[in-house]
């Protein structure tokens, strides 16, 4: 029996306020299309999640992904290794493994490959600088009096003394740099953040470049450190009723334009109308009870492929102008 997985990103994650969505107003201009074009998935990998429990239906523990490529001085330059924050490390690890699995050569990578990344909230710099900031607690009503003091001069002094400038580059877009540097990729790129909704747009950007012949291969990447202090605070503030077990993880898939049934799987992308999605099925996807942020859609695909049960994976992003559906069929 075919197992079918449907994932709908929440409206809030899609960046659309619920009151803006009126199903009756959805344009009817996007009929459900037959998919005649597709991409094929040549390699994939997900870096080991660092949470022991991912939902109720599946347990992953650190290190269980046996194919993990350790980041060592043989794979990444020592200088680069030193300035990597966790999302950088996870994604670079995933990308190295996926590229190896797909069998891409150095000449394939240089300019024939693009990198398309979704990242979570910026965490690296914040984590590094937080200790310095803690000594500068102030109330929200002190702005006027600041003007009469050396407050910002003292702040600058404290931060300068305690923060290593190297770490300032650990930011939301640094995973893109680290993958490009580690693999020598000089092709086009797109990086978006911070939610699962943006993953669909990144996929579409990769799709567009492959279809237009701008690249032969696309590294579809996602990485997020959902367990960091800053991510937890931000998520708690934004989605207090939707808290799930956070996981830190990254995924990388190697895509190329398909002319034959895919080596691993094939991915189709289509615009559909709203009824094609189904919020009700969210609860039946135990693998995704964990919150992997922007990595969630690709994690759904890869977990399903890895578990071998799924022949068909169907991801839908709801938007106020319709739905963007991604269908993955295992070969």
């Amino acid at each position: 029996m075919r197992k079918r997985v449907v994932v709908s990103t929440s409206l809030r994650n899609a960046g659309v306020e619920p009151h803006l969505l009126d199903v009756d107003e959805l344009p009817r201009k996007y009929p459900i299309m037959e998919t005649s074009e597709y991409l094929q998935l040549d390699g994939y990998h997900f870096a080991a999640p660092t949470s022991l429990s991912v939902g109720s239906g599946l347990v992953l523990s650190e290190g269980t992904e046996a194919e993990t490529t350790e980041l060592t001085q043989e794979t990444v330059e020592p200088k680069q290794l030193k300035i990597m924050a966790k999302p950088d490390r996870l994604l670079t690890q995933a990308a190295l493994a996926a590229v190896k699995q797909a069998g891409l050569t150095d000449s394939d990578l240089k300019t024939d490959t693009g990198i398309y990344v979704t990242t979570g909230y910026q965490t690296g710099f914040g984590e590094f600088a937080l200790p310095a900031a803690r000594s500068f607690t102030r109330g929200s009503d002190t702005q006027d009096s600041e003007l009469e003091t050396n407050y910002w001069a003292d702040f600058a002094k404290a931060v300068t003394e305690s923060v290593n400038p190297r770490f300032l580059f650990a930011s939301i877009d640094s995973p893109l740099f680290h993958v490009s540097k580690a693999l020598g990729i000089q092709g086009p790129s797109v990086i978006m953040s911070p939610s699962a909704a943006q993953w669909f747009q990144v996929l579409r950007a990769a799709w567009r470049d492959l279809k237009d012949g701008k690249v032969r291969f696309a590294l579809l990447c996602a990485t997020a450190e959902m367990r960091s202090t800053l991510s937890r605070l931000q998520n708690a503030r934004m989605n207090p009723s939707e808290l799930r077990t956070p996981v830190d993880t990254a995924t990388c898939m190697v895509l190329r334009k398909g002319t034959a049934p895919g080596r691993i799987a094939r991915i189709s992308l289509r615009r559909t109308r709203h009824p094609h999605s189904n919020f009700g099925e969210l609860g039946s996807v135990p693998e995704l009870n964990a919150d992997a942020g922007p990595v969630t859609p690709s994690l759904a695909i890869l977990l399903s492929l890895k578990n071998s049960g799924a022949k068909e994976i169907h991801l839908t992003r709801i938007d106020h102008d319709g739905a963007l559906a991604v269908q993955v069929s295992r070969r």
């Binding site: 659309v16 803690r134 102030r138 911070p194």
Partner: protein, 395 residues
């Protein structure tokens, strides 16, 4: 691009003007927007100058960039669609270039307040500007808004969407951001330097960038659609390309290889050759390494073709708006195309030996058809766009 993409509306908030007309007037006056910082007390602080927004407020939202974006989007939509706004049946996206969210440390620790993240920022902008649009949020450092515009233009050209409200917004004139960039060694922190001349791209005495704030947005749609509703075609986006240096986390590849690759990709996408370019709007931050690498890349692009292609830079007027810089500078390019003249690169007095190009030192009137817009960012991210002139004002 498969179909011609028209720019039918512009909106801006910048240190040299809080609407497009005021902005363009300042460009050609020419009048810089970089001044001593007034937003906080800089006594003992390492950075003294920035391009702040003046005569703006009050702020309804705690994050200033939301207010800047809302104002700019409102102006752009009004120019393109009038007071009724974007018709609801149009499939519309808000393609947004943002710097990553930055925690306002003291407030977070004491009041549990976090400066809003990119997704929340997009929501608030949509709400403040009264638009219903899917957010596409690009966080590609200093190329973010150029990528936001370029990829949105491709989606418009391919018929995926009807209308793109594309651009970027930034409110990085804050102690935290200024200190971050000062620690990185990217800012001009010379206390003896007059604010108005502190940003000196391509000059022998350049010492770093000056941060600015503001927002710039463009309305993009297929030219056929714009013509059908008699909308103004202010300019066209006809090519976009991006590349990665894969070289260094902050420094550009010295020979400009990555930048050259992105420029060539944009020209190829536009189906034009380097000799077709009327001018190049440089990224030109005023840092030693960026300007040198960009000049090398431009010389390589024009090698054997024409070394007379004029090169001009906008940051001495507006400061560096980081993620929003590409959008604001694209509006400067459209202003040049519309008025058929180039604004000068301010403060360029003594051209550095490694930055020799045909620099524009004062307003230059000339026939302009295609202008290449460059944006380069930390991590070796490069994005370039080709713009073509639209309808003449007297057509």
């Amino acid at each position: 691009m498969r179909q011609r993409v028209a720019i039918t509306g512009l909106g801006i908030v910048s240190a040299i003007g809080n609407c497009v007309n005021e902005f363009a007037d300042s460009l050609f006056a020419p009048k810089a927007g970089i001044h001593p910082i007034t937003l906080f007390n800089t006594k003992g602080f390492p950075v003294k100058s920035a391009a702040e927004i003046r005569n703006f407020g009050p702020f309804t939202y705690p994050d200033r960039k939301v207010a800047y974006a809302a104002r700019a989007i409102t102006e752009a939509i009004a120019q393109s669609f009038g007071e009724n706004g974007v018709p609801r049946e149009k499939v519309t996206v808000l393609s947004l270039g943002l710097k990553h969210n930055f925690v306002s440390f003291p407030e977070m620790v004491s009041a549990n307040f976090i400066t809003i993240g990119p997704d929340e920022c997009a929501q608030q902008i949509s709400k403040a500007a009264g638009i219903q649009a899917s957010p596409w949020i690009y966080t590609a450092a200093c190329t973010a808004s150029t990528v936001a515009i370029g990829t949105a233009a491709r989606a418009v050209a391919d018929g995926e969407i009807d209308v793109a409200i594309a651009g970027g917004t930034s409110s990085c004139v804050s102690p935290e951001w200024l200190l971050t960039y000062a620690l990185m060694g990217a800012l001009n922190t010379d206390a003896n330097c007059a604010a108005e001349t502190a940003c000196r791209p391509f000059d022998r005495n350049r010492t770093g960038m000056i941060l600015g704030e503001g927002a710039g947005f463009l309305i993009l749609e297929r030219e056929s659609s714009a013509r059908a509703r008699n909308a103004p075609v202010l300019a066209r986006i006809c090519g976009f390309g991006s590349s990665l240096d894969a070289y260094h986390v902050s420094d550009p590849c010295p020979d400009g290889a990555g930048a050259l690759s992105a420029m060539n990709a944009a020209l190829k996408d536009a189906r034009i050759n380097p000799e077709d370019l009327s001018a190049i709007n440089a990224h030109a931050t005023g840092t030693l390494k960026n300007d040198s690498a960009e000049a090398a890349a431009i010389r390589r692009l024009l090698d054997g073709v024409s070394h007379e292609t004029p090169v001009f830079a906008t940051k001495p007027f507006t400061g560096h708006l980081l993620a929003a810089s590409g959008a604001v500078e694209t509006i400067a390019v459209v202003s040049c195309l519309t008025q058929q003249k180039l604004h000068p690169t301010l403060n360029l007095v003594d051209v550095a030996s490694d930055c020799k190009l045909n620099h524009v030192l004062k307003n230059r009137h000339l026939p302009l058809r295609y202008i290449l817009k460059n944006s380069f960012g930390f991590g070796g991210q490069n994005a370039c766009m080709v713009l073509e002139k639209g309808d003449s004002l007297d057509e």
